[in-house]
Symmetry: C2
Subunit: 411 residues, 2 copies
Amino acid sequence: MNLNNIRELDRNDPLAPLKAKFDNSNNIIYLDGNSLGRMPLSVLESTETLLKQQWGRDLITSWNKHQWIDMPSIVGDKIGRLIGASKGQVICSDSISINLFKVLAAGLSVQQERSIVLSTTDNFPTDLYMVQGLTSLLGEQHCQLKLVDEKALEQSLSRDVAILMVTEVNFRTGARLDIGRLTQLAHNLGILVIVDLAHSAGAVPVALDTWQVDFAVGCTYKYLNGGPGAPAFSYVAKRHQTHIKQPLYGWMGHATPFSFDAAYQGSADIRQQLVGTPPILAMQAVNSALEVFENIDMNAIRRKSIALSELFLTLLSQSEHTQCLTCISPYDAELRGSQLSFDYQQSYALCQALIDRGVVADYRDPSYIRFGFAPLYNSFEDIYLAVSEINAILKSDYHLQDKFTVRQKVT
Amino acid sequence: MNLNNIRELDRNDPLAPLKAKFDNSNNIIYLDGNSLGRMPLSVLESTETLLKQQWGRDLITSWNKHQWIDMPSIVGDKIGRLIGASKGQVICSDSISINLFKVLAAGLSVQQERSIVLSTTDNFPTDLYMVQGLTSLLGEQHCQLKLVDEKALEQSLSRDVAILMVTEVNFRTGARLDIGRLTQLAHNLGILVIVDLAHSAGAVPVALDTWQVDFAVGCTYKYLNGGPGAPAFSYVAKRHQTHIKQPLYGWMGHATPFSFDAAYQGSADIRQQLVGTPPILAMQAVNSALEVFENIDMNAIRRKSIALSELFLTLLSQSEHTQCLTCISPYDAELRGSQLSFDYQQSYALCQALIDRGVVADYRDPSYIRFGFAPLYNSFEDIYLAVSEINAILKSDYHLQDKFTVRQKVT
């Protein structure tokens, strides 16, 4: 496979024109969209409008005039379309951690004879921490975290489990769980299901309504390109909204926030997930970033994601120098999200050397290098050039220079 | 007092040059900085830099390169200077509601034989709701909200109160509590003190360290001009940081977030208040907005605030048409924050009519109109012109037209 064949792939790619909607001015090969997505150019313009026209000139009247007050729902519904949720079930707010706390507490409150939150040992740490924090409040008799290997999940479902809390796509390995199947098995045993879509939303087709998931959370700064630390989202299935209440009773979740009642009465819809005043500057960036997805089918994104990662594996397998990289992601593309991860003792140095040569991937302890594929702006040529650089670095031991091997602060 | 006298006040005002640091292009008289502060012009430039240079070009490397990861502490310490907190005790994150939840739960966890959270009946609703939400989690035996009139606060302090939770400046009336005195009285009875500084920070001199307050929270979108729904802040007195843990165990509050341990170990400093990934776009706006306060003494701001509000009252008292407005704020300037509120049956219409004539104040149910004074950008001439408009409207019943009296959605 030579560069001409690769460029042919790009010419035939129906999503290729979308790359121009992003800021690519740094001219690097960016395979870290699973950590922080590239900036859609529309964000520049919409942010300037927000600042100059809305905040700067219209000030407080913008809450109505520019629909600031409805922004969490507007953005939520846009995200909903990408994760298989019909309207009124997704809302944008807070961080993924805080949104998890809400749905964990809400779920446990209606599973009162059960206390176990079942999750996986290598779930993203903050997910596990939020359960531990809830335990610190409620005590182990009401909230108890049980961790098992991903492979042991199904056999660990039982009638004493209150909540199954899983991340669809594993942040280290990219392995993807079968959420539809797990949800069905869990429901058969009276278990509620919370799914973390951090590495799914905008990358793989998700079908929350079809799968009958109970609650989901996700972030907008990875494949949704909402910006660093952009507000997250929550999904609460319609059937739960009237009778399950999350406990962070904020004024924005009140049925009538501007009546300023002293007693909380939660909204009977998805807005009960809101807490404080919505962060408009950040949320408007998400709103604008989502424009790139308009009229785009998630299946088309998935097809390209798989093609990009398969090309990566194929090219890697054609070099003798890359054999030190042990793929820890599933080889079956259907079983992984939109990333590939490799175990290699010198991953940290390799990652630094790649950055030095204009290819951005990321490193995760103890010895993993992750490559994320963002079909909206990654081209097949990006993959070709990235693997060429990996190959050249490993062949020459370029990465074993002190400047790459000495650890710096890691994010 | 004529316009020439008024302009003389502006000429002699040492803070007058600061007005030019804000976007005043809409040419309105804005007396609603207690709801949403005006936009500092520096935010425009710093946001563009953040988008184009940091997110757009440097992408994920910005977490270290541009100190994104330290932003919550950097911004926190800048706010700390304005509220009498020495370094390492204030951090910027989340919303005021969520930050209240953290310190409420943290405080209750070390007051185990006590369950009462004492507050005031007309505290800002979200503050009361967060206690009610915590009760829904812990049960009344561990968290019980007790509400009393502001005047009855001191006599209601007793050894069964776990936490005194008060807002220094009342959002409706502008009445200001004596936090130093209340804290001393509370501490004498073993009560922890949480202070909400929403209407204080950037408007009145606050002395958290001197007063020995235990915890405080506040928002940055009012007198700190951080933008709509901008991230809030928390203060935790140094003496509590090692042994009191808040229960929203997020990865950013972990002692070593990037070791990705499965077990939470909270940071032993103010960073334990962090939960999820910090919202950089919004937080950088706050950081930039705070530049206006550099080298400014909060006492100078307070002096001008009092002068503005006293002028407002004086001018109002000179007209026969304004007698329908009953001031519900303390007449003694020392006893109020930086706002004046009036009870008047047609407040809603008056507020709409003022907006129509270029003066922005705000309305609060059932019949209050609030005027906020922001010494950084409000001039004495603003006050003169605002009162002139109020006078003209009330004299002519201009506000009693249908277009002003019919209620629209209120924010």
